[in-house]
Symmetry: C2
Subunit: 552 residues, 2 copies
Amino acid sequence: MEISSLQKARYAYTPKLPQMLRGGIAEINVLEGAETKSVADCEKIQALFPNTYGKKEIVFQKGQNTSTPKKQVVGVILSGGQAPGGHNVICGLYDALKSTNPENVLYGFKNGPIGLIEDNYVIFDDEYIDQYRNTGGFDIIGSGRTKLETNEQFAIVSEVCKKHGITAIVIIGGDDSNTNAAVLAEYFAANNTGVQVIGCPKTIDGDLKNEDIDCSFGFDTATKTYSEIIGNIERDANSAKKYWHFVKVMGRSASHVALECALKTQPNICLISEEVAAKKMSLSQIADYITDSVAERAARGMNFGVAVIPEGVVEFVPEFAILIAEINELLAGSKADAFNALPTWAEKYAFIENGLTKASMEVFAILPQGIQQQLFLERDPHGNVQVSLIESEKLFSALVADKLAARKKAGTYSGKFSPLHHFLGYEGRCAFPSNFDADYCYSLGYNAFMLIQYGYNGYLSKISNLSKPASEWVAGGMPITKMMNIERRHGEDKPVIKKALVELDGKPFKFFEANRETWAIETSYVYPGAIQYYGPSEVCDITTRTLALEKE
Amino acid sequence: MEISSLQKARYAYTPKLPQMLRGGIAEINVLEGAETKSVADCEKIQALFPNTYGKKEIVFQKGQNTSTPKKQVVGVILSGGQAPGGHNVICGLYDALKSTNPENVLYGFKNGPIGLIEDNYVIFDDEYIDQYRNTGGFDIIGSGRTKLETNEQFAIVSEVCKKHGITAIVIIGGDDSNTNAAVLAEYFAANNTGVQVIGCPKTIDGDLKNEDIDCSFGFDTATKTYSEIIGNIERDANSAKKYWHFVKVMGRSASHVALECALKTQPNICLISEEVAAKKMSLSQIADYITDSVAERAARGMNFGVAVIPEGVVEFVPEFAILIAEINELLAGSKADAFNALPTWAEKYAFIENGLTKASMEVFAILPQGIQQQLFLERDPHGNVQVSLIESEKLFSALVADKLAARKKAGTYSGKFSPLHHFLGYEGRCAFPSNFDADYCYSLGYNAFMLIQYGYNGYLSKISNLSKPASEWVAGGMPITKMMNIERRHGEDKPVIKKALVELDGKPFKFFEANRETWAIETSYVYPGAIQYYGPSEVCDITTRTLALEKE
């Protein structure tokens, strides 16, 4: 098998552990903190998690090992979308497990949670693990989106664990997967299976963070990769001086990715979905906001620019959310048949005009035809509009073009506007993890085993103080229930880990807000360049601007 | 002004010169070679270039300087599309010029050739130059696509040169710009202006190469950037195991970029336009070729893959080129009015069906509707189809989907096919130049000044032996006329530098051809990762696979 020279070189990288973990289990001791309670809805959460609620936060420290010697057989799964560093979580877990006792065994269940149900696994050994050290991707065992949430599933998982003598399961996933990890942990405790569950916080979206989790792994590498590309595009814009680039970036509902990229690259425009929602902005207002920058720059002789658009933004525009709801209603079930039978777009358009409220029709009418058709023609199996497929980068550039045409007519704009469109997503989920993510992930995995060895269940592997050098990082564990509250999901009250959106009074947003007017008009681009794994420490070891601002 | 930590670190990088240039002008001597003749059409080229034709190739060597001491005032322009390293050409030129004589002056004319016409310039000094060392982009003075080709323009340029006392002009550009450099050199010689012209070979497309030019600058960095992204996408495909990614890459007519990326990343499919043309492949045949890979992989349980599509491929499909010609004819001039007046797409479609030949209509009929509409609705100011806007990555995935549907019906395929689409272009033109491009470009600029100092005119700055370490590179110059032949362009015979397409009997293609069947069926992906500027030499100093194979 041919591998790249970088991959070969990265095999030789030794991830940095927090100082307190560097002596291995022999020198690790537990410092117990206070008992915890959930961030909200304490009684309801406690009622749902009677066996795992209220446990103590713990921190590891140097000291005499007091854990019970016991052969450990551990299973690990990767859950959900890829994030750089997943392989290193498994490598850290494997190294801790094997160095604690060479008889310990690590099972990797394949293709996500389904692997636990199907009993589809690999048993790791050195040769297997060594191929994946410090590499990107989740291809070591694959990932998947099946959810483990029913008692039937849990019973099957229990059987699988029993069969292999598995003592603990490590779930590497996002907020939903860790919520499910907590539920599984409760099930195991309630049924006295003796199997522990430990979660690890993964997601490039950056929305799994709170007072206990500095950041999820993968966010650093993904935003560095997107920022490399955005910076390159900015430099191209500033060289060719004739295009406006509309760059949509992944990140689901939250705008952490867009904001971090903006802090790194200083584009002319960056929309923040949470602000759009808070200010109840209309599509027209957003378009005006972008158009002001385009027009002002044109007046200064700069018919070029870069606008960053978070993936989820249109769902945060109140009038657009209403429009989507109306369309879903208009075409629900058999009502779609009459619509589908209409032979021409003109007739379909009349049908729509007739079916929408006046307010929604006004929103619909300003959309470019491509988007209009997409809303009606590309629906999911339930007949719902596929919001995530909406090419919002094209939507906004089309709205801006309309605004500019009107201003040209009014004599208030005389520039040129040539938009280009990009979507950055898959490029960043499987990059070689940055040194930060390589270190953080390895530490998360290593630490997860220490939590197992000390008998914890329903805990998240917690590595904090991440804005400092790795030697100063703090390792420990936090009951997952501590991060939970009750939210309404699909018409039901559910215990879930609270999703972190961009806080409009947080320092990262405040810094952005204080600078964006300048960035909108001037050309203040910063070009981060490609992720470096070698070289000066300030080039290859520093993590996100978001974290630096949050912890400053 | 805020700059990134990588940019700061790159300022400290010292580009490597060929050994023979390291002592500067004092130790540089000229070794004259034989007189040259053009690669074809010698008589015609000689007739067009009576004053600059047939000059000698020269190579520099260590020795006593014999050039005439003279204050040099040099102008430089960047022409055409961005390519990583352009700034370093100017930095090398500046350093050579200033170290030869601090009284020498370097003018940078702004926004491409138009700067010479408009007399729009900057005079470089250390402070200005130092901001751009080892950075990407052409923003140091901007670039542009105006062509310098008429005697009226040349007369204006002569006046501008006279006004500033300019003794030489360095033109950094692709094949067309260097062709124009040769014509300008001839004009200057014929009119005894005493102004010299030196060209430097730039283009990320890689199509400016021949027995004298190992490769154009920028190709290395751009293909490394695209390969980083393709590798990341491959790793995502191999982790998620549910998408087929269709990745179009820039490169204009030639497929050098696609081929180099394929050699680096080993995708399942890479189309090569030159092969499509040579085999006179139809769209259906190409789609079958891709579909075979999709189906075979699906049969092996792999419903994912990556296909690389060169930007220009559809123009090389004979039946598609005919279709485009027919459409251009069908809607030429006022004929478009009747078409535009038709209110619905169905009526427009009938008009088209009526106007195309049967053969072309068969091609048209298999296109997805989005592409059909694009061909008719998005035409340039002359009414012509905008071939470069055709989303060929979507075209091929749609054709493959059709083929798979037919095979499913026939019972020969039972997989899932979810395509995703990408276009890689602007991401790679302004990246920080790789160490190779930083060194090569600096050497090209440095060497250009040596050619000026030795009085050469109509020469290309030539650095060769590039597959070896920089110390072994060979510096010299080649008359541009030597690379020219006569081609038919826009109905006229024109002297031009021969464009280099991928040679189907060349070693890079042969290597690809020998491996692609395996790559199509197995998962042989290679993940190059981000360009590294630091670290082990095999990670940060090696140039393209294409060059290595050509020179092996």
